[in-house]
Symmetry: C2
Subunit: 341 residues, 2 copies
DNA sequence: CAGAAAATGATGGACGTACCTCAGGAATTG
DNA sequence: CAATTCCTGAGGTACGTCCATCATTTTCTG
């Protein structure tokens, strides 16, 4: 009737508790035949290890590090805030969190920080960083040391990460394309902005965006992507130039961060009201802009879900359990001024 | 250094383990002054109860009933599916779930089912039903018997429920208004449909919808709500009539269920492509219609979140703990064909 | 200041698992 | 068949918390 315990398995298999324990924890010194008997009993009764009790008994601590880009980035700030909240609620669940800030645009520095991690005092790492060959190697090293590794926000598809926690960026781009197409009415020119097209998420977003525009909104023409390379001044100057050049501009898709300068440039141009603007991530800035009707829609990923999913995945990987994919899919949310959280 | 335990608290506060236990579990028989001493020690050491050990020790079972409308309703089906998933996953460990189907539109029958519940074998109830005076009394009775009660999907603001788990329906209506305004271009007539304007969510949605339309889209005119009263034939007939009458119709807002007949009527009319259609809840039907471009956007509440939130709230109420409001706010999601989950 | 009542301490047994030791049985070897 | 290794059983302790009981101390009341 009730959940079967190790005792029930022992009785069912006709062996002692100690043997069941040895089998379940893959300890040596049990004959193949006996192992099979125990396994059969486990299957028959549908036994599942009570991880709560197991963790209690073995004094298990989950020690995870979150590698996040440092520097002024409102999205990362909200992520950190979410981590702070999670930390509070997860102490109770034996999870220790550590945040490792790394320079956003310096692959070598990121790798250096990863190498400096004390892997013996760590069970898992969540990494938010652009994919580079060096990073791939660093991730491989972490995996070899037996850590669980998840990619956060931006995927590392060619690195041996255990999982990617983040939205489908192609779908995000498609959604932006759909919204900008419907909001603009489908005629005119569109500007697409990002920090760098070398970053995986921007690439994918642009791809999705273009797909939808060309298939569903043939009246729209997307100009070549404008890249700021993390330089705010450059961003502001480029936007100013682009807006003043020609009257055909009807919409702007901001694929990355750097919305502060985008908005200030647009405000200066005086054309903010007429342009349809779609941006990513809900931050104090974009929230304000939504309310003020400066931005029409924001595509976001819920940082709370992001963090909780990352933690769940890291933990289940550490426990060697299978990941429940359906639960870990991060929703792509559309936020307008009317459904602000 | 390590996580403080109850033993550490006892030492720090200079009291015995038993007293710490009494304070932590709010058992009677402790002086105010002693309680304060223990609390101070808890704060000083940053003690957090180890939920693993606690759950293990207290072989507590939470017995909850979910009262849901029966009959053919795809949204309720997805809700039930989510309940099934929750039951399987660890979200619901030590939780016994029971689903109580009630006739959707018969207040007396609902109340009868509630009265028939064996309150001695139950710790909490989640109710999805329209608010009536009889229901209010029934909820009051459940509360008197010491059960936790939450309203699900549709609020019961005048009943003594502990919490409402669901979206802000005024905001949902506002969002629908915003989308239909932007998608249509802002000129023409709009049709609003529902099962019954007596149901609280429809009322609120219509209210939010009208607010936005009148303030932001003065070129749109919303016709009086069409009510089906749960009768599919009637729904189909009314839609057919409404669509054929006059050419000014540009959009449809379906506030309740009954999208099957709406779509079949629209298909028959041959005007499905040109009309902007906004509906509620993602079901196999609306998903299909989104992909086929028959519906432009769906406003949904994530049933998984709904269920998990309801369970969390019921559990914390049973434990007499405060509810963490921020975590329990259900997001209002906009789904288009490009960001389908 | 006695007696009652209230507050606190001491203690031990759960819960389900991990991990250890020790003894004795079984299988394998020569 | 004896000696040796290998398996297995029995039993214990621990993890952090809950909960119950009973003894003891402190505080309150008249």
């Amino acid at each position: 009737m009730n959940k079967p315990t190790v005792h029930d398995i022992a009785k069912e298999a006709g062996v002692s508790l100690a043997t069941v324990d040895r089998v379940l924890n893959a300890r040596p010194g049990v004959r193949e035949k006996t192992i099979a008997k125990v396994q059969a009993a486990v299957d028959r009764l549908g036994y599942v290890r009570d991880t709560f009790a197991a963790n209690l008994a073995r004094q298990r601590q989950y020690r995870f590090a979150f590698v996040l880009p440092e520097g002024p980035n409102q999205f990362v700030e909200t992520l950190k805030a979410a981590l702070g909240e999670a930390r509070a609620s997860q102490v109770a669940d034996r999870v220790l969190l550590k945040i490792v800030p790394v320079p956003a645009h310096d692959p070598h520095a990121i790798v250096r920080m990863l190498q400096r991690l004390d892997t013996s005092r760590l069970d898992g790492v969540a990494i938010m960083a652009p994919e580079t060959p060096q990073l791939r190697d660093a991730v491989a090293r972490l995996k070899e040391e037996g850590l669980a590794v998840v990619a956060l926000v931006s995927d590392l598809p060619n690195a041996p990460r255990d999982h990617f926690v983040g939205i489908n960026n192609v779908a995000a781009g498609r959604t932006a394309g759909f919204l900008i197409g419907r909001f603009t009415g489908g005629t005119g020119q569109i500007l697409a902005l990002t920090n760098s097209m070398r970053s995986r998420d921007s690439l994918e977003r642009r791809l999705g965006f273009d797909t939808v525009i060309s298939s569903d909104f043939s009246g729209l023409k997307v100009r070549p992507s404008i890249e700021s390379f993390g330089d705010p001044e450059r961003m502001e100057r480029l936007v100013r130039d682009a807006v003043s050049r020609g009257p055909g501009l009807v919409g702007i898709y901001s694929m990355g961060s750097g919305n502060t300068r985008l908005l200030s440039a647009l405000r200066a141009s005086g054309r903010l009201g007429e342009l349809v603007v779609i941006a990513h991530e809900l931050t104090p800035l974009t929230r304000r802009a939504l309310i003020d009707r400066e931005i029409d829609a924001v595509i976001m990923q819920n940082v709370g879900h992001l963090v909780r999913s990352a933690l769940r995945v890291l933990r289940t990987r550490c426990d060697g359990l299978p990941i429940f994919e359906a639960q870990e899919r991060i929703r792509l949310e559309i936020v307008t001024r009317e459904n602000l959280p």
